[in-house]
Symmetry: C2
Subunit: 125 residues, 2 copies
């Protein structure tokens, strides 16, 4: 039974198609981390949201959860909303270790991959 969880945290959207790349991302990461429970959570507009997910993870025997904000930019959602959610999660789940990574858009390799795609877009059209 896994005791560690990795939560890929996105914004969420009304249109269910929006979640498609997040689901692919979850599959890729899960394949690379067979001993970790890799899940998705959203800030709003689509389930699950962090409180219900972390509740389920704790009930399932997880003692550690790392949250990765899958956002390009760190604005109000990552810098203000997320810390408030995390503070509440830590109060409600004192037995669990809850960690938070930087937003994926802050990573140089991610930005370089996006840049390569943008450059190639010009030739493809």
């Amino acid at each position: 039974m896994n005791t560690r969880a990795l939560i890929l945290f996105g914004h969420g959207a009304r249109d269910a198609r929006w979640a498609a790349p997040f689901k692919r991302l979850q599959q890729i990461v899960q394949q690379q981390l067979p001993d970790v429970t890799v899940t998705l959570a959203f800030l709003e507009l689509m389930p699950p949201q962090l409180p219900e997910l972390v509740e389920q993870l704790e009930e399932g025997g997880h003692t550690e959860a790392t949250i990765v904000p899958v956002f390009f930019g760190q604005g109000g959602h990552v810098l203000r909303d997320l810390p408030l959610i995390i503070e509440k999660l830590r109060q409600d789940h004192a037995e669990m270790t809850i960690k938070v990574a930087g937003a994926v858009g802050e990573d140089a390799d991610v930005l370089n991959a996006v840049a390569t795609y943008c450059v190639a877009s010009l030739a493809r059209q």
Copy 2:
């Protein structure tokens, strides 16, 4: 004088810090495409928006603009709002060729880079 433009199109946010990775992305792409005008545009909450930017690009002698949606997911903003904006742009700028790429989150190499970051996040914490 450049006649081609590449427009990196993001959502926008109230918090100015949100734009930081987009500006870094613009710099990286501009370095790789010295003969193309590489710009940012946003759907909402921060300037410039597409209509004013494309107007400026046309006045500056550009005859072609390729728009890359810098979104992970293709939801209502990319699948519904953006096509309406593009249709209007093409009506208002009939002399310009306006092209649209797929969202960056649809690219396998981008997703793999994000996945690598997520996996590494677990070890870093």
